[in-house]
Amino acid sequence: MSFSDRDLRDALQPLAGDAMATATRVLAALPAPRPPLPPLGWWLLGGGLLLGFLGGFLLAPAGQPAAAPTQVQPPKSDAPQKDQPEVDKKPEVDKEHKDPPPKDPTKDPSPSMMMERDTLLLMAFGSLGVDEPGKEHEELKPGQWYVQAGTAITTDQGTAGILAPVNDLVLRLDVASKATVSPTEVALEHGRLFVNTGSRKIAVRIDAKVATVQAEAGCCLVTRQEQGVAVLAVRGQITVRTARSETARLDPRQQVWIDPDRGMTAIQQVPFLPAATSWMTEMILLQNDWTELQERIQDLVQAFQDGAYREPAARELRKLGARAVPALVKVLMQGGHDADFTRATLTLISDLADYSTSRNLFELIASDDAELRVAAFHGIQRATGSDGGKDAAFWRDGSFADRLAAAKDWWQQLYR
């Protein structure tokens, strides 16, 4: 029995997706434009400056400039050239200087260049303060914003996610933190910062005063407190250098602590990484990065399975909600687990499954294990509000043929 051209066309049609839904999702995710200043204010400000300049020029004694005008220099971009290693182009940062020096407004690149090189997409998960180079301090409400590279971002009760479109650098700033951010350099003043350079070979330097951290094709967490700086490698290789010229190269799950007076500690292994990244869960979910989400789920399921960190892993999995269900079902289907693990996993699956992921429980309802079948029944029932016309006793004791027929009917009823 083979297939026809029509079969092939019909087979592929369900893959078309919903173009309107895609458009809606994308439009909803587009960053909000920065609220413009009132036009009147701009005109008054611009007009005042112009009048002041002209007046000073006209009233000045002959032979003297009215005011020393700022020397106009050719526009320069702080962003590195694309064809050279970006980190090498950066000037040395004065480690004693917490904030970057104010940017000369005449060096601001043109708006189009800013869009290309010097713009950061900022997602505020709470109110936060921004100090853009050459601009007044602003308080931003939760939402998506564009800010210039070199902006100091201060969080309070909410977190912030930052994306540099020029190199796909992703940063996350925890609550009560402050960092000055450019696509290849971040100065962490206080608080906790997650850096993800993605899989690209971009190098990012994090200046935390008593230590600088170099991340290349990797992720790390840097925490700066009064007592010192902690650096934890999440992925890739992370290099840490201290003001005392100590250097450490961290592999994933390794961390060091740098004390301003006593220097760097020995490298320590972190047994359960998700605890350190728990604060980012909301951002991971909202950012909708499939790879990162799946990696996190796999790490957590592994920890849950290993047992030593079952409770914290379960807590983190619960934060991820129904997305964790397919991976948990897969683990159960591998079989060979002890009763405690099976029970804990079933509880978790049953609690987390929603209507959409309840489909996965149909794998369990076909199991030879009566306990799995009953748990799957309860999970589907809870997630969908439907019992398919059967009860737990049926799924525990019914014949295979009866259960198969009932599962078929139930599936049709729920998902067709």
Partner: protein
């Protein structure tokens, strides 16, 4: 100013988008969603994160729209971005220890074999899974022809190959599918 029209040229919709009219960009997304989806499926297979790839593609296209000089070339521009994103996605996938090979990606809601569905529907699902396992070049040809329903000449133009080569790829893809499909049917019998 009139509302963006579904009949409008890409050039006009891009210009309206740049003027701040987001609904114009919505029309561009609707217009190119299917073909971008086909491009992504050709590159990464029938993976479960297709919607995310589409979203990322259109977001990145929007962010760089001001740099697009020839507004009539929006189609080529957005396809190029989709291609790059798919390459990134595959690269990231390869670096993961627990990466699931494409042929193991869940294409359909899991179900007990033999459970549910009428016979034809099961056949179509099986066929769809097999398309996901085709080598990239063959999958691309099959998707352009059967999913996008493009002509041989169109496909040849897009892939920069001759029509004869298109024919050959489609023939090889069908042969592959037939062997796999019939093999699976015999195994299941």
């Amino acid at each position: 100013m009139p509302a963006p029209s579904t009949e409008a040229r890409d050039h006009d919709l891009v210009q309206q988008t740049l003027d701040g009219r987001r609904e114009a960009y919505g029309l561009l997304i609707v217009r190119y969603s299917r073909s971008i989806r086909a491009t992504c499926m050709a590159r990464v297979g029938l993976a479960s994160d297709l919607d995310d790839l589409l979203q990322e593609t259109f977001l990145r296209a929007y962010q760089g729209l001001s740099r697009l000089k020839d507004h009539d070339r929006f189609g080529a521009y957005v396809h190029r971005i989709a291609g790059n994103i798919c390459v990134d996605r595959l690269r990231r996938g390869r670096t993961r220890k627990d990466h699931v090979p494409l042929e193991e990606v869940q294409l359909e809601p899991p179900h007990e074999p033999g459970l549910a569905f009428d016979v034809r529907e099961e056949r179509l699902i099986r066929l769809r899974q097999l398309v996901g396992r085709l080598p990239e070049t063959l999958r691309e040809a099959i998707l352009l022809f059967y999913f996008e329903q493009r002509s041989h000449a169109d496909i040849a133009g897009q892939l920069a190959i001759t029509e004869a080569a298109v024919n050959q790829r489609l023939h090889r893809a069908r042969q592959f599918l037939k062997q796999a499909f019939d093999g699976a049917a015999e195994a299941g019998a």
